[in-house]
């Protein structure tokens, strides 16, 4: 009985970030990367994975030290921990995929101020045991990555006629320039929010 309960709680903590509490489509958090770097699928995926790395390790560490962190300086401590992992991921990307690192530019450093990450520390990891925190972080960051990837895929297909830099429609495709410009990010995000809310509303009613 007890193991069954814990399994269902485990899967619940993991799945809520992907669907019911999706950070981008439901909570509308982390808008800066979701709009700024999703002009191609590969950029969206890279930003998603970098955020996954940072969120997972920060959540684990914060959860491990949750009883040692003084309440008065908790935000500062979280930020220091997050910034550490952002520096790590910044250097990793620069070493392994310099092209993407160059394209993402300042937005990698800006993962530090992604409210999704700080929000999870404050709302979840600082209050829950390590296991749940890891699952929560994984679920949230997978949900975030899926969101960024789907925005990036739509924008790249329409704005460039390609997917992961592979040409889809041949030479004669007319690119919708607006899609790779900033307004395209808002349009696609708005459209996806509309679809997501419609599905969620239908399910609840």
């Amino acid at each position: 009985m007890k193991s069954q309960e814990s399994i269902s709680k485990n899967s619940e903590e993991f799945l809520k970030g992907i669907w019911r509490e999706n950070p981008v489509f439901v909570a509308v958090l982390g808008m800066c990367p979701a709009l700024a770097v999703t002009n191609s699928a590969i950029n969206g995926l890279a930003m998603g994975l970098a955020t996954t790395f940072v969120l997972f390790f920060s959540s684990t560490l914060v959860s491990l030290f949750r009883s040692f962190i003084p309440k008065q300086v908790r935000i500062t401590t979280f930020i220091v921990i997050i910034a550490t992992f952002v520096t790590v991921v910044d250097m990793l990307l620069a070493a392994w995929v310099p092209d993407i690192h160059k394209e993402l530019g300042a937005f990698i450093a800006l993962i530090v101020v992604n409210c999704l990450i700080l929000g999870r520390q404050e709302a979840f990891s600082s209050k829950n045991p390590v296991g749940y925190s890891m699952l929560d972080a994984l679920g949230m960051s997978i949900g975030f990555t899926i969101a960024l990837l789907s925005i990036g895929v739509i924008r790249e297909i329409l704005g460039n006629g390609s997917l992961f830099n592979i040409d889809l429609f041949g030479q004669n495709f007319e690119p919708w320039i607006i899609m790779i410009l900033p307004p395209g990010g808002f349009l696609v995000l708005g459209f996806l929010l509309l679809c997501f809310n419609r599905v969620l509303n239908k399910k609840s009613s």
């Binding site: 429609f169 004669n172 495709f173 007319e174 919708w176 320039i177 607006i178 899609m179 410009l181 307004p183 349009l187």
Partner: protein
Amino acid sequence: MSSKTLNISTSPHIIANVSTDTIMLNVVYALLPVAGFAVYSFGINALLVILTTTISAVGTEHYLCKLSKKESTVGDWSAVISGLLLGLTLPPTFPLWMAFFGGVIAIALGKFIFGGLGYNVFNPALVGRAVLQAAFPVAMTTWYPAMALDRFSSISTSVLSTPFMQPTVDVVSGATPLSAFKFDNIIADSSDMALGLISGSTGETCAVLILLGGIYLIIRKMMNWRIPVAILGTVIVLSGILYLVDPQIYPSPVFMLFSGGLMLGAIFMATDMVASPITPLGVVVYGAIIGILVVVIRIWGGLPEGVMYAILLANAISPHIDNMIRLRVYGTSKQTKHD
């Protein structure tokens, strides 16, 4: 109740028996000569473009009403106007699939998402055009000469280009007076521009017919005359001053007045009843802002034409204009906030 001799009711006491539908229908009447001249001047291509945008705008309105389980509001003619206006601001050989997309965007994004007619912040037709301009900048600036000989016998290949594919560019193309001025410093003949013997968007060329349509609406009191007068007046004054400073660099006020989409924009788009201010003074301020922006964008901006952006920007601030010039309520101090 009916036996009462004195009828007491709240204001307004004088009600004009004019409905939204009637006004909108009259705007359509005023636009028809403009559209007719567009077809006469640019041929079948222009007819197809205007029909496509109108059909897609009306279709989108109908479909979205059905989707939100409301009664279809197609009957108030406002979607027809948005579609017509969008078609009149597009180049004559604009690919039809892009025109269709523009009509959908104009109604869905420009009007319906705000709650339909009466709630739109921006002029729907211009929202559609702005999105098209940002999405397909090349197709939006490929012009076709007016009065071409084969305009009624052949359909341009770029009009019929396959959806999502690049339009094939025709050999014949004509620069608009504004782009010719901007990039080659050539000034077109004024009488040609007034009569519409120039290249440009389908409906913006014949200034005389647009003016007549505006005068018809003003006489029937279905348009606020202050808006076009303020816009055109500001443009004349501002470009006149610049012309007096240095006629070598700056174009004459006549050229500014009759070139590009200024007439069409000032008379049919800036006067959108929902997106413009309501106070008499606010309307003048609004018109002056549009006029200043048009001159600034045309002369110092990177684009040859700025009417669309000028009107969209002024639409965005029109509620604030009303707010700022609202009269102080008698007896209150200057510091009192009315909100």
